[in-house]
Each structure stands twice: as structure tokens, then as C-alpha cells.
Amino acid sequence: MAHILWLVPALPIVAAGVIALLKQPRRKTAAALAIGSLSLSLLLSLAAFVPVVLTWAYGRGIRSTTNFTWFQVGAAHVDLGWVLDPLSAIMLVMVSFVGLLIFIYSTGYMAGDENFTRFFCFMSLFAGAMLGVVIANSLLLLFMCWELVGLTSYLLIGFWYQKPSASAAAKKAFITTRVGDIFFLLGMVWLFSQTGTLLLYNNGTGSLEAGALAGLLAQPAALGLSAAGAIGLLIFAGAAGKSGQFPLHVWLPDAMEGPTPVSALIHAATMVAAGVYLVARVYPLMQAGALSGGTTTALTVVTWAGASTAVFAALIAVAQNDIKRILAYSTISQLGYMMAGLGMGGIAVGIFHLITHAFFKALLFLGAGSVIHGCHGEQDVRRMGGLKVDMPLTFITYSIGMLALCGFPLLFSGFWSKDGILEAARHWSIARTPFYMLLFGALLTAFYMTRQICYVFFGYWRGGKPAHESPAVMTLPLVILALFAMGLGVIGTPAWPWFQAFLDGRALVFNLHVFTRPALILLMGASTIVVFLGLGLGWRLYGGQAPRPEEPDVLERALPAPWGWLRDKLYVDELYAVTVIAFYGWWARVADWLDRRVWGGAVAVVAWAFGLWAQLNRFLDNSVVDGSFDKGCEELGVGGGLLARAQNGRVQTYLRILALGVIALVVVLIWSSRI
């Protein structure tokens, strides 16, 4: 199976290529191609997933790689390859499955768009690239697909390029992620220079395997970090760029300018999770040489970044009014959770949350899309309301997603995955602060989701044209996703931690007695209380009657100043505007001045010199060369005139001359044969 794994990403990419060649009106063909190829990929992924599970069940080696040399420069050769292990297998299934659902959904959502085919071209290109990221066994290949993903994200955010805001957002996303990618590249280069290979696993010689790691550890870098840690941090910077961790998160909310399925697929389920996945991939690098308590500086950094992002984004989400922006900020904060989970609890914890979040956040976005669709493109929650009557199916599924996101106890997947993270945080050896931060984040999450729900679905209709339910092609994916958002928790409960065991390759044990452990009870109780607190608070404030658009928000009436800060996203953009962007502007002006004055002047001088030289040449030409040349031409003209006489246009004349030639030829031949 492993050796044809490359088909999984290849199929959608090929489909994208074909769609790109299609004509604009061939909509059905385009959709069919995209969906068909992706469903094939899904089948292949399942076919890859099952054997992995089986081998794990039989407790055998569960990582198989396929590598080959791309090109060779002297002794150094650059290898590419793909790996099949629990991590990639699960991600494959998740990406292709969610992607497929979203594709189906898009056929309904984009039905009215005239650039339908272009949309599907980009979408399936993205799907292919993302799958490539997942299966990559070499940082280089991963980086290529990574950039491809970034490109498609850019294209899709700017899909409605007529809207200046959209194109601006696209540029912003591209550039901001680029900042992270540069660090990633640096880390990669460094890794290559150290280990001489970019393959992750290559039975013993891969850069993530014992030999290389030992070498990296021996290498000390700045401020007490080992080379391994430093590289890990650089790569983490790249991951932070992609999955919008704190300083680099600014692009993600604006990315909501793209079509909603795009937001669901790229900016909720898959691409932003790619950062988390990357960190999980290079986890050994970060974990290398773990201190007491199984943590390292790198992991600590990851944890703090994650935790702070979680709270920070949740705070902002409270004061947003655009339905999609709220979800965007919640995505950021959830990504923070994942990072923190990775930092404190290891791969399994983070990735489990990633998977569950992928499902319910996709569900939420699609639900939001359905709402927007139903409200004729209205996105401001204050202009909605009472939709639970108009769009019942959307309402049910959406609320399921919302509960899962809040981590409603026991029933919903979000609860279990978030619980895992909280538990890990509680047992963290360095500090307790992240634990409380995350709890606070959970509270905020519950609160703003309730606020949103109340705005959108309860109360009475405050918009213009009355809303309508979306077509089945859009609601069906919602239902399926909702089922998963509920059920998926089962595979990761503390009692039966199948998922974690599978990822870590441990043996699976089932015992209900964990629930009798006081620590766990305490923890679950705490999170439950927090969740209910959040829900209650939200209901208390907004449940009764959501304010109509013109009048200020409830909280705003209570405490206007902080609300203002939150509404303005804590001024990060403005900060960048006055620092980074201002600097760039200044630097650009400097460069411009240099260009105009210095280089321009130099060029002008050179040009003037040449002009002088040219003048000289012209004088020479006119006086000396031309004279003689003209004479020659006259001579030639006269000669030509003479010759032209012979050419009198009479065929027979020519023939005569030919015949004379024959005579001469024969005579010459005979004479020569004589002698």
C-alpha cells in the first residue's frame, strides 16, 4: 500500500489540472472530476488506514516509508519520500473525508457563481497539496506542498478578487504566512547542513531517528538550546505562521473574505491544522533530550504560545459581530489549545483535538455558510435572529457543533479532546498557569458561542428579506458532520483511549475504573462547571432578547472600554501598522529615493557619455564612411542595370543559354576524357 500512497495526493492534483483546461460552462464536469478524484483518494486513504490499524493491533512495526533520490549534487543527494504511520493515516482519512463533504457542500453553495470551474480547480489543487503535506516523509517535499497549500489558500481567499477587501486579505494571508515560512526554511536548511538529509524516517538514517538526533543534541546553539531544539523552534515558527498562533494570527480572521466552504476546509479543518500537524511530525526533534518531566525548552515555548493564543483569541471572539469572524477567532483559540496540548501532553492529545475540532469546526463553518446562504449573503449576526424556525436543520446541526466546540460534557467529542488537553496541562511539571488559562479559554468559548447562537437563531428576525432553508446538497454534509462531531469522542475517552494508544503505538487497555480516579473526576467536574458557567452567562445576557443592530451590545453597555478594545481586536493590526508596516513604508521610500537620485543619476551620466560617443560616430559616418559607401552603391547599381538587361523575362532566352551551357559541358567533358 505504502508504495502507491503517492496516488492519494496525485489524483486531486491531476483533476485540478484537467479542470483548469475545461471551459467555463463545463460546471458539472468540473465538479464531478473534483469530487470523483477526492472520493478515490478517500478510498485509497481508507485502504491505507486499515492495514496500519491491523499491524498495530498485532503489535508490529507500524511505520512504512518509501523514499527515492530526487537529484544529486556531488556527494549530497536530495531525497523525497512518503511515510505511512498512524499519524499520516489518520490525517489522510480526516482530510479526504472532510474535504469530500465540503466539496459536495460547495456544489450547492457556489451554484450561483460564474467562476464555478475555477473554484473547483483551486479546491482540488488544495486538497491534493494538503494530502501531500500529510504523507510527506521529507521536509523538502512537505515544504513544497506547504507552499502549494499557501498558494491555493491565497487564491481562494482572493477568489472574489473584485472585492478589494478580499484581495487585500489574500495578500495579507500570503505575506503573513510567508514570515513564518522563512523561519521554517531556515530550520530546514540548518537541519540539512547538520544531518545531511531531509528525510524524516529512513530506517535509521532519517533526521528524526536516533542517530541524527544524537548528533543534533551534541550541537549546542544559542541560549542553552541544543541544535535540535533550535531547529524545532524555527520549524514551529513556520507552523505558527500557518496555524495563526499569536503574533502571526492576524491573517486568519481576514481570510474569512473567501467563500465559506473555503473557510471551512482551509481555515478551519485542514490547512490551519497543518501547522499543528507539522509540529507533531517533527515532535521527536523538539522532544529530543527531554529534561526531567519529559519536557524541553522548545516544548515550553510551544505551550506558552498555544495557551496565550487560546485565551487571546477567545477574548477577541467575544466582541465580534461577523458570524464568520467569531468562528475564525474561535478557530485560532482552538489551534492554541492544540499547540498547548502538543506542548504538554504529547502528539496524541494535540492531534485528537485537531481531529475532533476539524469535524465540528467544519460543521460550524458550513452551518454558518448555510445561514449566510439562507440570509442572502448577510454576515452580521445582529441582522439575523429567530432562524431556528426558518432553518431548523441548520439550527440543530449548528447547535450540535457549538456544543461540541464548547465541550459539552460526555456527549460531544470536543469535551473529551479538550479534557485530554486540560488533564495534560494539570500534570504539567513546569507551571500551572497554562491550565488556568485554558480553563478561562473554555469559559470564554462557551460564552461567545452562546452569544452567537442567541444572536443568530433565537429571538426574532431582524434582517431584511426573510431567510430560507438551504438545499439538501448543503444540509446533508451538515448532518453527517454533526454525527461525527457527536460520536467521534468515543474513540478517545480516558476509559478507552483507542486513539491515543494508536498514535503512540501503545497497547490498548480498557478499564472503566479511571472514572473513579478522584483527579479525573475533579477535572471533568471543573471543566463541566466552566462550560455550564459560560453557557449560562451567555444565555443570561443574550438569551432573553438580543439587541437590534443599531443599539449597542449588552456587554458594551456594561463595560464599554474593554469592549472597545476587544471589538478592535486588541489593536494588533494597528500595532503592526505603526511598527512593521510603517518601517517597510519608510524603507520603501528610502529605496525609492536611492533609486531616483543615486542610481538614476549614475545611469543618466552613463547615458550622456554614450550619447557623446554616438555623436562622434555619427560625424564619422556621415563624413567618411557614407561617402565611399554611396559610391560603391552607385557602381553596383550600374552593374545591376547591365545585368538586368540579360533578364528579359523571355523563357526561351533562358532555355537557349541553358542549351549553350549543355554544349559547353559536353565539350569540356569530352576534352577532359581525351587527355
Binding site: Q652, R656, A659, L660, V662, I663, V666, V667, I670
Partner: protein, 166 residues
């Protein structure tokens, strides 16, 4: 040198002369066919049956007809007032005579090296076919291509004017 040779030679040369000298263009064409027929007979006399029949088929059957058609299409059959020969025909005649003189001289000069009577070669059509399909298959293909090209070219050249006239 047999009687037959002289007869055929006389026929052919007469035909040729007539083809060149006669006033009426159609007569010229007919005389030309006589010359062709004479050449075909020459070929037969030289035991080149196939070539001879090919000569008749192609020249008398096709080329002569073509010429005649061309004459009728160009109304060239009625003789022009100012003579059928071009202005300085004498020069041409002299040159032609010169060519003949040189060629004949060359032939007579090299008379002694030329081979004498040799055994009659037996050539069946089968051999010719094998040669055409074996050793000479490439030239055959090329000639086929050439004929196709010529056909298309002739059609276009002859058709083009009418098309534009419409």
C-alpha cells in the same frame, strides 16, 4: 541494324519533326503521339515490354490527351497571324543544331567503347514487381507522393482563378 530499327526511327523522327514544325497546334499534338508510339515501339524492340506498354498507357493515353485538352482550353488551335515561330527563331535553331552536333559527335567518338550485341535479357513482370517492391520501394513511394502532389497542384492551379472569379 535491322530494317525494323530504321523504320521505327524514321517514324519517330518524322513524328517529332512534325510535332515541332506543323502550324496547327492540334496537328502538332497528334504528331507528338506518333513520336510517342514510335518510342514505345523502340522500347518493345529493346525487349523492354513493360516500359513500352507503360509508355503507351501514360503518354498516348494520358499526356497526349492532356495536351489536346490544354490546347482546346487555351484556344491555341487557331494559328496566330504573326507566325508560329518566335522572333529570333534562327538563334534557337542554330543552338539546337549545335547541341545535336555535339551529342552526335560524342556518340560517334565513343563508338568503339560501346558494347556490342549482347544476349537478350529475359525480364518478367514478376521481376519488375519484385524490384519495385524490394530494392526500389523507396523511390516508388516518393514517386507516388510526387504524383499526388502534382495532381493536387495541377487541380489547384487550374481551379484557383475560377474560385476567385465567383
Amino acid at each position: 541494324m535491322s530494317i525494323a530499327f530504321y523504320l521505327i526511327a524514321a517514324l519517330t523522327v518524322a513524328g517529332g519533326l512534325a510535332a515541332v514544325l506543323l502550324k496547327n497546334t492540334v496537328h502538332c499534338a497528334l504528331a507528338l503521339t506518333v513520336a510517342f508510339a514510335g518510342l514505345a515501339l523502340f522500347f518493345l524492340q529493346l525487349d523492354a515490354q513493360f516500359a513500352g506498354f507503360a509508355q503507351i498507357l501514360v503518354y498516348i493515353g494520358a499526356v497526349a490527351i492532356l495536351v489536346v485538352f490544354a490546347i482546346l482550353l487555351t484556344r491555341g488551335s487557331e494559328t496566330p497571324k504573326d507566325g508560329v515561330f518566335s522572333k529570333n527563331w534562327f538563334v534557337g535553331l542554330v543552338i539546337a543544331a549545335g547541341v545535336f552536333a555535339v551529342l552526335g559527335w560524342a556518340v560517334l567518338q565513343s563508338g568503339h567503347v560501346l558494347p556490342h550485341e549482347t544476349a537478350v535479357p529475359v525480364v518478367t513482370v514478376l521481376q519488375i514487381g519484385n524490384a519495385l517492391m524490394g530494392r526500389y520501394v523507396l523511390p516508388l513511394e516518393i514517386v507516388a507522393l510526387l504524383l499526388t502532389a502534382a495532381m493536387i497542384g495541377a487541380v489547384i492551379v487550374a481551379l484557383h482563378e475560377k474560385e476567385s472569379a465567383k
